[in-house]
Symmetry: C2
Subunit: 585 residues, 2 copies
């Protein structure tokens, strides 16, 4: 399939406007669910500590806190904590530590679990008021747990595990002992989960302190963030933009230092897109490396193996991602979750810069990257070459459109049966991008068994061809944008190609902050550009330097399948070089 | 599902006699295919070295070689080489070496590749005349390759790789450069394969010398061995019995020392059953550990991920299985085959006998093992306990019938579309057990997409429940029969439960020789036994001590998913103990 064929094959379906099988039920929804939703939202608000409540319009020196973060493009999130003096100096220092620094300090006795979680509770409260990133917030429970941990440490001189006292955030769709888990569906607002998801259980045992569960879009299937329960989550760098999705809340929260480390999941870009849009680190490992046991989504009593979701961490540093992986895998989770691979975390990666062979994707042939993203890619190439990277070439992914077509059909092989039945239970209105997702692939029609078996064959063949091209062109890593622009316009992002391609390929990927920021004087929109297909025609004009001014650019490095450790190690190496070059530029 | 429900759920389908959709085409088959088949058979015969041709009726001391190995239960296969003097004393010594001993001797210069392959060519010729285990035999090519290898060694003092000069056999369905590959389908008799399968290519590069491709049943889907191209393969210990299948030829050949090491594949017991029936070693690793790239079967342009085939070795010792795995995985095959897991072979397994926790399956609740198999299990339990194994308890697999039902449906999710189309191309007659396989699960009806997604879910849930029971009962290994009897009556074996259960579970398993031999005085048929279900009623009476007299008993040890190295190491440990006990008894 060539780029020319993108139109007929993918676009026709995406822009199809035939009615969907799903019918909203406004009466049922407003009668049975709106009251529950209002109560749910109220509870989040009530748990904000009074000293951390932001007064709209409050003026503190030069900082103006707007009435409505969505209407006003508020870009000063990081300044709020300092300028409002909600956090003490010491607390500000704490929330600026990485997860590794925190666990080290607590293990040495330099910090207590209580003072650590106290600081993050305040900072998370600020973040959730600015970005609406929380789906549940429970500071009291967290403080009680932190006190327990401090007592244990005081009594024994030991930590309970490698995450002793570490504040940790969780995307909401992981089961949490004694709480409800809705996965972005109104129908699941009362869905009580008796047990922790396996990831949650392992980190809890390792000493993590949970205090916030973060938001996600309706159905989890947007690269954006809007659901009917908590509404829209906003980009921490510019509240008029999207934080990306579906691990939206983690992206917003971690970027504002409201959490040092969180759990996300990615079936089309849901870790890598929000990490890039929010300018933090996010790691999608190879499928089946981290457990989905106890995570909820649309499917129940059915499993779609054709395109799989990867669970992984988001954080503010590469080392924190490794801490997450090592802690999880050291627990030998494969003995509990039969589904995942047995593959202990390898910490002994020796990967000199001169050994890295990278292909850089300046354009995937479907939607051209916007000027600031192109500038980041160029900066990456120049700085890496200068620093002595082994190889760094311009590289075009093998038959992107074919890969994406397979991926899109794979999402909906069940003809949306599972999504539809989750929606029907509440009759909730579809968010605009939920409708978009249900039009992917063959939409409500789904595929027959034979078509599904063909699809699996095509997928494996495509993966093999992609790997062959990597072998032939002699590259081990693919550096790509996470999206054509630094972030997305709310409710608009329809093109998943820069991330979803690597889901159908099952390649690990790490999004990272480049440090490069959209500069209207350097990154003017290319108004002369003629889109090559209807998808590009839709997506490309959404970039505008005035709207995106100040937006930082994240990129993603993908590695070979099962080369998770190498991919993370390589990203750490190249990020330092690119970030420094961005600061020096 | 309880044992009581085995009848309605599985048996009804298996004993269903409604006509299949496939219709034979005798005219097309006899006109277009019989001549090709005759030519194909003739070629195998022509390649037998004249000095290795067995004269029917030939009498050499006390050895009588029968006119027809199928009619007469010939049990003296191992004596033929010595008594007919087809092999010299030195050659007899060579064919009694293990693969590890051979590569060591060649690497040291104590043996040449040519003398080694010469011995194995003769012994293989004997084996193929007795058991009909060959599908292709090409001694001349092998000798040429051995000469090359000897020259290289002479010139450089080095080996080309860890298998330098090792004679190696291959199940036919692996693609072989420049030859045809039929996978047991008459329609594929002309199917030319330009390239080696990946396993073949890696072993070739490592220095293996190929000389024989071994037989398999029609469609590969029997635990027996009968196809329309080369006919029936016979059990090396008793030519009136089945060698098991589908890696039938390897089982027969290796048991007669006609090859030290071979490649097989297993989707329902196809390595473990022939290894057990032929009293050799066979290893089915966890799925995706060894590559299927370049192997052929019924499916093309479609892939059935629901139950997967594992590739693995057959040999006469545990160390030879490890040599195979290490050589293959040291080549980093995952960089070539994107489908397999990246998991290097771990040679550093430290597994003291006292750490082994084993559950022994004396009865899976569906078909009770026959007396000699029960005797072997009892011997195993007693000898292991005496030797100080960590734990050794009687153990019943969790809901066997449920697991098998999932597995049977999984085989035929396509409603036999792929098998049928392979058959239709030739119109060949179905062998009795091909018909049996096509009645598995939902047979020609197949499943809908939603049923398939439910099946995948049920499979994963069953795997998890099985793993949970292993955790709860605190065992790491399951010691089982490979079949209810020591071997099978030709064309009769319908019960795959003792092996196929571990395919749907994806647990690694090693079949091994116990050294215990069916003794009519100890192993009389239990004529009073009342079968619990129609499957048992069909299968159980097939054991008869007079028919099976002298048949050696193999057993299988299964380990946890992804614990391939531990499973092999544990089997090596326990086999030594059990084998010694059998000799001493």
């Amino acid at each position: 399939m060539t780029t020319d064929e993108v139109g007929p094959v993918i676009v026709e379906r995406i822009f199809n406007s035939e009615p969907l099988l799903y019918k909203e039920d406004p009466e049922k929804y407003s009668k049975e669910f709106i009251p529950k939703i209002n109560k749910y939202r109220e509870e989040i608000k009530c748990n904000i500590p009074p000293e951390a409540v932001l007064s709209p319009g409050k003026v503190d020196s030069d900082l103006i806190i707007p009435e409505d973060f969505e209407e006003i493009a508020f870009k000063d999130g990081m300044k709020v904590a300092a300028k409002t003096k909600i956090l003490t100096e010491k607390e500000l220092e704490i929330v600026n530590l990485t997860a590794v620094e925190i666990v080290d300090a607590i293990a040495k006795g330099d910090l207590s679990a209580v003072e650590t979680i106290t600081a993050f509770i305040k900072q998370a409260a600020i973040a959730l008021q600015i970005t609406n990133c929380a789906m549940q917030f429970f500071p009291e429970e967290a403080l009680a747990r932190a006190r327990e941990l401090d007592e244990y440490y005081k009594k024994t001189g030991k930590t309970v595990g490698p995450m002793h006292g570490l504040p940790m955030s969780l995307k909401e769709h992981y089961g949490f002992k004694g709480k409800t888990t809705n996965a972005g569906f109104a129908s699941m607002i009362d869905h009580f989960t008796a047990d922790d998801a396996l990831t949650t259980a392992i980190f809890r045992k390792a000493g993590a302190v949970f205090y916030i569960r973060t938001t996600q879009p309706q159905s989890l299937m947007h690269l954006d963030s809007s659901n009917n329960i908590t509404g829209r989550c906003r980009n921490p760098h510019n509240t008029a933009l999207s934080p990306g999705g579906s691990t939206s809340g983690e992206g917003a929260l971690i970027a504002l230092n409201g959490s040092p480390l969180g759990t996300g999941s990615d079936i089309g870009g849901s870790i890598r897109a929000p990490a890039a849009f929010c300018h933090i680190w996010g790691f999608k490992p190879t499928n089946k490396r981290v457990s989905l046991m106890g995570a909820f989504a649309s499917y129940r009593d059915m499993s779609n193996d054709t395109v799989l979701c990867s669970v992984g961490p988001l954080a503010n540093s590469a080392d924190d991602l490794a801490l997450y992986m090592k802690t999880f895998l050291d627990a030998e989770p494969w003995l509990k979750d039969n589904y995942i691979t047995r593959a202990p975390w390898r910490s002994d990666i020796d990967l000199p810069l001169s050994s890295l062979k990278i292909g850089i994707v300046f354009d995937d042939g479907i939607v051209k990257p916007s000027p600031p993203v192109l500038r980041a890619l160029k900066l990456a190439k120049e700085s890496l070459e200068k620093a002595g990277v082994g190889k760094c070439i311009e590289w075009v992914p093998y038959q992107t459109a074919k890969g994406l077509e397979i991926c899109n059909v794979a999402y909906n092989v069940d003809g949306n049966f599972n999504h539809r039945s989750r929606y029907e239970e509440s009759g909730e209105p579809l968010r605009p991008l939920s409708e978009h997702h249900m039009r992917f692939g063959c939409g409500d029609k789904g595929v027959s068994t034979q078509e599904l078996l063909q699809l699996i064959h095509d997928r494996d063949e495509y993966r093999q061809q992609f790997a062959d091209v990597m072998n032939e062109t002699d590259i081990d890593f693919v550096l790509t944008p996470a999206y054509f622009a630094p972030a997305a316009i709310p409710d608009k992002i329809k093109y998943w190609g820069y991330t979803a391609l690597y889901n159908i390929l099952d390649l690990p990927g790490v999004s990272f902050p480049t440090g490069l920021v959209t500069d209207p004087s350097l990154d003017a929109k290319d108004t002369q550009y003629v889109p090559r297909n209807p998808l590009e025609e839709y997506e490309y004009p959404m970039y505008d330097e005035t709207v995106f001014a100040g937006s930082p650019v994240g990129l993603t490095l993908h590695g070979r399948r099962h080369y998770d450790e190498e991919t993370l190690a390589a990203t750490k190496l190249i990020q330092e070089i690119i970030f420094k070059a961005a600061q020096d530029a």
